[in-house]
């Protein structure tokens, strides 16, 4: 007991000593934080200039992150949320918990225009089916895939962000014909996993010919493992995008610092860390500045994306169509 009191006392003293250094708390998804993720390098770069202590807090994946913010409500300990995607921002905006960022961002290198007053993008990617280069007769569209006997692993749109991305991809490309496409795909689908990790693990273990992932996934194998045998299949319909964003919470006690962090997010100190830690395209870095190896990735002809409001509106119907088609 005495030790506890002593420890509590020391903590208080230590807390007082650090009181001059403001703390910026950033909630993010789990894979952002580890040594091999973008977190540590970004923390070091920002702390060099901000005169603050940047603390990342992990909360599952993108969808779990939003649930966490909603659970905490206006009393949230977070100043910034980093890692929502455009399929979640409508719901996030509707909570009223986010404040306008007020930042002009002319240097964005997204393939689409950006004018969201609450959220700023930090990276993006195209969903794609990744396969081994040894695969014969690689399908070039959903219709070809459905007609082929190529096997795929996908993620469940009810529990996974990439799963939801695939759902919206088919919906955006085929509209009313989405159900038909899913029925055609049903005999190609080996299985549906709860999240990206399980699906990618199954693919690497040889359970399926292709896995739903990103066009940037082969870059990991090429750069980190020097393995050039993974590639992504370009689809004629175009590829659906995932744009990952950050926003400032209205209840923050560090509004200046939070906005400074969002501004820093679009500078090179942050952006240049992204490609080889998060394995996505940075949102504000010209193509020439990408690391060697990224030039080998496929470049989709057309970028598909629902804006935040549309994505929220079509989601429930699309899930129902998916469920019906695959339950037959």
């Amino acid at each position: 007991m005495r030790h506890t009191i002593l420890a509590a006392g020391l903590t208080t003293i230590a807390g007082a000593a650090f009181a001059q250094t403001p703390v910026l708390t950033v909630y993010t998804y789990d894979s952002f934080i580890p040594d091999w993720g973008p977190g540590p390098a970004i923390e070091a770069a920002f702390e060099e200039t901000c005169g603050c202590d940047l603390q990342f807090v992990g909360a599952g994946d993108g969808a779990a992150l939003l649930s966490r913010i909603r659970l905490e409500g206006a009393r949230s300990g977070a100043d910034v949320v980093l890692g929502l995607d455009t399929n979640l921002t409508a719901a996030a905006a509707a909570t009223g918990l986010f404040a306008p960022h007020g930042i002009e961002a002319p240097g964005l290198t997204l393939p689409v225009s950006w004018d969201d007053p609450l959220f700023l993008p930090f990276d993006w990617g195209y969903f794609a089916f990744v396969h081994d280069t040894s695969l014969q007769d690689v399908p070039g569209s959903f219709e070809e895939l459905a007609a082929s006997d190529v096997s795929i692993v996908i993620q469940d749109p009810r529990s996974s962000t990439p799963g939801l991305g695939l759902l919206l991809w088919v919906q955006k490309a085929y509209g009313d014909r989405a159900g038909e496409i899913w029925e055609g795909l049903s005999d190609n689908i080996v299985t549906v996993t709860p999240g990206w990790s399980e699906a990618y693990g199954l693919f690497l273990d040889g359970e399926a010919d292709m896995v739903l992932s990103y066009t940037t996934s082969p870059a990991y194998h090429l750069i980190a493992e020097e393995d050039p045998t993974k590639t992504a299949a370009p689809f004629a319909e175009g590829h659906y995008m995932q744009i990952e964003v950050a926003g400032v919470l209205a209840g923050t006690d560090q509004p200046e610092l939070a906005r400074a962090f969002l501004a820093f997010m679009l500078t090179e100190g942050f952006q240049s860390v992204i490609p080889t830690t998060n394995w996505m395209y940075p949102a504000a870095l010209p193509a020439e500045a990408l690391p060697e190896g990224f030039e080998t990735l496929i470049q989709p002809g057309q970028a598909l994306l629902y804006d935040a409001g549309e994505a929220a509106a079509v989601r429930d119907g699309a899930i129902e169509t998916w469920q019906r088609a695959l339950s037959r």
Partner: protein, 511 residues
């Protein structure tokens, strides 16, 4: 001690149901269940019932064989065979797929022989995986019951010249009648909250379980009302299963002996021997091959694991030990209370709530309760330890209560007649008979806490990750090789902890 047990059981129920109520109160309105939810409930019940049935049926010959055979490495086999039960689900699934998957050893063998391929995906795959995960638990529960038969009885049977059939009639049937309902129930409950196994091996949305519906409600819909309602459905399923099991339990009193070692089995013969060899070899191959596959894939990466993984491993060991101490401290008084009088079997059903309620509901509910009072992030590890202890409690009780009852029946009256009370009575009369189930339960609690992702994912902060969580992080960052190495580390540590407490089930021990 007994009163403490009743109070503790009530606290356990509160710790499980409190979070559920907290989630319901945070909801903006009452939840409603749609047709998809009812389909999910039906599917959950179906797959859980089939999984429990097959796990227990397969366990009967294996437990019988392990009880009556002596061979070198028996203790080690008993310990290692328990591994699937304590592995994180995704590791177990990947191990299983290495054998039964499209690119697995089985299909490779079929292909080499020019036969067609088999697909694991579908209801059959779910049941296969659940049997893989739960057969070890079923075997151990049945084995405990066999080992509790006093050797004096066996000697009597031998001197009466019992045949194999006589043994079945007078020993096996009463033992099974006593232990099967509980074993079936506990495995049914584990499978009823299954989510990743059912989805990955079920092959698609046909295999939607209640737990997945809860996930959806929390994550994308943020419909707390629906999540709480689905959590309540899980509680009702648990209570119904618990009541059913209580109604089915028949006394399996095997009497009491002087704890002398068992003699060779009466009624033994070549047929019985052949069947036992087949059971033990079959179960070993089925349970150990996937583990071997995991080991082969990950062993090479083990030495080069990032330092974060080793730190996480240390943290996990501390959490597991704390969690085990807590589990044992709760389990002993509750078991003594349950064994102390008639009509107290319901206590066990109450504590079983902790495995039947979705970890997501419990985690979220705890978060809602803690958040207004303290910052939950620094509490991540203690809360994880507490929740792991609650989840391990039903397993240890399942092993402990029958043993406590038997000890009470056999030694209790004598102890009372001698005027023994309190600690002396417990130490001299009861505890020596609880050594085996207590060691097993503590081992299970430790290993289980080691391997469980638990609620920490909801609370995590950078420096606080546990080993399972670090493994998931590696998987989520393409680092499959390191993740496989971490999985091997996790498996070895969990097994080592399990062995440290359980000592191979003490199957060769005198008492």
């Amino acid at each position: 001690m007994e009163r403490t047990g009743a109070v503790l059981a009530a606290l356990v129920a509160l710790a499980v149901l409190g979070p559920l109520v907290a989630v319901a109160f945070a909801a903006e309105g009452p939840g409603r269940l749609g047709p998809a939810d009812f389909a999910a409930i039906r599917f959950t019940l179906l797959q859980a019932a089939l999984s429990a049935l097959f796990s227990v049926l397969a366990a009967i010959p294996v437990a019988r064989a392990l009880a009556r055979r002596r061979f070198a490495g028996r203790r080690l086999l008993v310990a290692v065979m328990g591994a699937p039960f304590i592995l994180p689900v995704i590791v177990a699934v990947l191990g299983l797929l290495a054998i039964f998957g499209r690119a697995g050893w089985l299909n490779a063998a079929f292909e080499a022989l020019g036969m067609g391929t088999v697909s694991i995906y579908g209801l059959g795959g779910i049941v296969l995986a659940h049997v893989f995960l739960n057969l070890p638990l079923a075997v151990r529960l049945l084995l405990q019951a066999w080992l509790s038969v006093p050797s004096e009885r066996m000697r009597l049977a031998a001197s009466l010249g019992f045949s194999d059939g006589d043994m079945r009639r007078h020993f096996e049937r009463p033992i099974l009648c006593a232990v099967l309902p509980g074993a079936l129930t506990i495995i049914f409950l584990i499978c009823a909250t299954s989510f990743a196994v059912a989805l990955i091996l079920g092959g698609g949305p046909r295999a939607t379980t209640v737990e997945l519906a809860i996930y959806q409600a929390f994550r994308f819909d943020f419909d707390l009302g629906r999540a709480a309602l689905l959590g309540l459905v899980q509680v009702l399923i648990c209570l119904a299963a618990g009541l059913l099991a209580l109604g089915l339990v028949r006394g399996g009193e095997m009497g009491f002996g002087l704890d002398r070692p068992a003699r060779p089995w009466p009624g033994d013969g070549p047929v019985a021997r052949g069947l036992d060899v087949l059971s033990i070899v079959g179960a070993s191959v089925f349970l150990l091959l996937p583990l071997l596959a995991i080991l082969l894939e990950g062993l090479a990466a083990l030495p080069g694991l990032p330092s974060q993984v080793w730190e996480a491993a240390l943290r996990s060991i501390v959490v597991a030990l704390g969690s085990t101490a807590l589990t044992v401290a709760m389990a002993l008084p509750i078991a003594l209370f349950a064994a102390g009088g008639r009509g107290r079997g319901g206590v066990e059903a109450v504590t079983a709530l902790s495995i039947s309620v979705s970890p997501l509901v419990v985690g979220t509910g705890l978060f809602l309760i803690l958040f207004p009072i303290v910052d939950p992030v620094p509490l991540a590890l203690p809360v994880t330890g507490l929740v792991n202890a609650l989840v391990a409690l039903p397993f240890i009780l399942r092993a402990l209560i029958p043993a406590a009852r038997a000890a009470e029946a056999g030694q209790g009256r004598l102890a009372d007649a001698l005027g023994m009370t309190g600690w002396t009575r417990l130490r001299l009369a009861i505890l020596p008979r609880l050594r085996r189930p207590l060691g097993f339960g503590a081992g299970l609690a430790a290993a289980f806490s080691m391997g469980d992702l638990g609620v920490i994912a909801l609370f995590s902060s950078p420096g606080e990750a546990t080993l399972p969580m670090e493994m998931y992080r590696l998987m989520g960052s393409y680092r499959t090789d390191d993740a496989e190495g971490a999985a091997v580390l996790l498996m070895l540590l969990a097994l080592a902890l399990f062995w440290a407490f359980d000592r191979g089930g003490r199957v060769d021990a005198v008492a």
